[in-house]
């Protein structure tokens, strides 16, 4: 059957994907460059299409706590925001991770720090992959590099979030959020019924029927021995995620002498830079992480054994490079090329950086 095609903005693709993924509730607060998510949802009247609840909250603090409440009921719930708003959500995200609740948070990153700029950036990498809020926890982090992936990763994020009872984040940026591309839409999946929710998430607070113990959603445990056990259980889950869910994509790696590592928008720039370099006879490839957490450790290790140098290209001052260096352990040269403050590097400057920093340096 022919799939439905549509020209969409990345932010609109997130919203349409949510409706089609059977999402039960979206709670959000406007911020550039992602306000189209809420605008699109409000215009689409998803309460008529699928019964999905959409609410403009009074703040990102309220949004994430609405997500907490909904997630604790076993519902598929989400929010989206951009950098300053995501900072405000960190306490709530920590509670959600601590209480082991599935949900989706989309960060359409803009440049910082502070109010920064509304232009695209990748400077929230650390915040996304290292936890972000207080305590030892991880988010599942997916990094789309196209509008199609903005769409596809909504469904994937919910799937992983429920599989692992863990919050998932789509770490995008203002460029992917704002640009328009062709998107292949899939058939809508119905929202879960009450019975399905009880079956899929028996821990959810759906009202205590006679004969079952009460369900309690909390992250509190005052006894250190028990709290440590809860932490160890979380760590066990993260090890499982690291073992089973590393996702990545390789480009021109078979004969590569050098490699780029980049995610999201940067990986698109690098693809073009690869063409420029190869036209000059430089055999360069790219490893593009799709899951930023769990990081594709095994693929990085393998690549480090094959190439003579790796250039990590990011729209930040050098964040993912720390993870790459930790994995490579000095076996090959790993350097960084970054632009920030809302600047997207050109393929030409990235290609030049490869020659100067990795090959010539």
């Amino acid at each position: 059957m022919k799939k439905e095609l549509r020209l969409m903005k990345g932010n609109e693709a997130i919203a349409e994907a949510a409706i089609r993924a059977g999402c039960d509730g979206y709670f959000g607060y406007p911020i550039t460059p992602q306000s189209e998510v809420l605008e699109y949802l409000m215009a689409e009247k998803p309460h008529e299409r699928t019964g999905m609840v959409v609410l403009q909250a009074e703040s990102e603090v309220a949004s994430i706590n609405m997500v907490y409440g909904g997630a604790a009921c076993g519902k598929k719930v989400m929010t989206s925001s951009s950098s300053p708003g995501i900072s405000l959500m960190q306490e709530g995200l920590s509670y959600i991770a601590g209480a082991e609740l599935p949900c989706l948070v989309v960060n359409v990153v803009r440049g910082g720090p502070g109010l920064g700029t509304i232009q695209p950036s990748q400077s929230d990498y650390f915040q996304a992959v290292k936890g972000g809020g207080h305590g030892d926890y991880k988010l599942i982090v997916l990094a789309p590099s196209s509008v199609q992936e903005m769409y596809d990763f909504v469904g994937l994020a919910f799937e992983l979030a429920f599989k692992y009872r863990n919050p998932a984040m789509i770490l995008s940026d203002g460029a992917i959020g704002q640009m328009m591309e062709k998107v292949e839409l899939d058939d809508p999946r119905p929202r879960w019924t009450d019975e399905e929710i009880v079956r899929i998430s028996p821990w959810a607070t759906t009202g205590k029927p006679a004969g079952r113990e009460r369900n309690i959603i909390t992250s509190l445990e005052l006894d250190p021995a028990k709290q440590e056990k809860l932490n160890l259980k979380l760590q066990e889950k993260y090890r499982k995620l690291e073992k089973e869910e590393q996702r990545f994509e390789k480009f021109f790696c078979d004969d590569a002498e050098y490699a780029f590592m980049a995610f999201g928008t940067s990986s698109r720039i690098c693809l073009k830079a690869i063409q420029l370099a190869r036209a000059k006879g430089i055999r360069v490839g790219m490893l593009r992480p799709i899951t930023l957490y769990p990081f594709p450790v095994d693929a990085v290790k393998e690549m480090a054994g094959k190439v003579r140098g790796i250039l990590v290209v990011e729209m930040n001052a050098g964040q993912m490079i720390e993870d790459v260096r930790m994995i490579v352990e000095g076996k090959v040269k790993v350097e960084h090329y970054g632009r920030f403050g809302g600047i997207i590097p050109s393929p030409e400057e990235v290609e030049l950086a490869l020659e100067q920093i990795i090959i010539g340096g």
């Binding site: 709670f27 609840v53 009074e58 706590n65 409440g69 607070t205 009202g207 009460r214 959603i217």
Partner: protein, 263 residues
């Protein structure tokens, strides 16, 4: 007669004057003797039992002395971050409109860090019940000044008494909530005497019943002593509450059927 024989003799159905609600668990409460939290928990349990809604109710505990409320109420419960209970309740009620959803919050939780969530959920007319324990102090963290701490009242962060010029005025948040178009039933009660307990129970019951009518937020403030935080005996604390809290926070209905009660 032996004591044991007497006991088994009088423990009979027809002699029963009081039975613990089955919506209360057997866990021993951690509250200080004389504190209003325990009594209010008991009232909520009894109301849930009497309305026969145990299967349909979802409660939200705050961060504060009542953070462990879920240990005592035999219902599905969530534990919110400090101040955010109304945000959780908003989502739960909208996602499951047929359920009864309530938050249980202290004055620091509801009227300081969570002011925004309180005001906006009330203003949106969220069809939830808020039970608000006002003890004029931060009990859990050791007796610091709350937004409701009275002028001149001592706390660990106002050791010489609350000085309004430096620390601001005590906040009558319930009166603010009552003035918002989204609130439908707003009342202030207390639990220091059997008569007041009965009135509070009626208020909480009304608040839950009104959720069925989907008319907006129902809000029950319960004045309570915090004898340990106030550094008094329970008896002294109740007397102090009557003499000092009641004049500033007068008991009674503030809004009924969506209309402000004229005083």
């Amino acid at each position: 007669m032996e004591t044991g024989t007497v006991n088994s003799d009088i423990i009979r159905e027809e002699n029963l004057v009081y039975r613990k609600s089955r919506v209360l668990t057997d866990n021993i409460m951690h509250y200080c003797p004389g504190c209003g939290h325990g009594t209010t928990h008991r009232i909520i349990a009894e109301v849930i039992e009497e309305l026969d809604i145990q299967e349909e109710v979802i409660g939200i505990a705050p961060v504060g002395c009542s953070v462990l409320a879920y240990n005592y109420l035999d219902i599905d419960m969530q534990e919110a971050a400090h101040g955010r209970a109304p945000a959780l309740a908003t989502a739960i009620k909208r996602l499951m409109p047929s359920k009864y959803v309530f938050t249980y919050q202290g004055d620091g939780d509801l009227a300081a860090i969570g002011t925004s969530e309180t005001i906006h959920s009330a203003n949106r007319g969220e069809n939830i019940t808020i039970v608000f324990i006002n003890n004029g102090i931060y009990g859990m963290t050791g007796g610091q000044m709350a937004p409701t701490t009275l002028e001149g009242m001592k706390s660990s962060t106002s050791p010489y008494g609350r000085e309004v010029s430096l620390m601001g005025h005590p906040l009558k948040i319930t009166d603010l909530v009552a003035r918002l178009p989204g609130s439908y039933f707003v009342t202030r009660q207390a639990v220091h005497t059997p008569a007041n307990v009965r009135k509070t129970k009626k208020a909480i019951r009304t608040a839950f019943e009104l959720q069925r009518e989907k008319k907006g937020m129902t809000f029950v403030e319960v004045l309570s002593n915090c004898n340990s935080g106030w550094k008094m005996t329970p008896v002294q604390a109740n007397k102090w509450m009557v003499e000092n809290m009641f004049p500033f926070f007068p008991l009674g209905d503030i809004k009924v059927n969506g209309e402000l009660v004229s005083k």
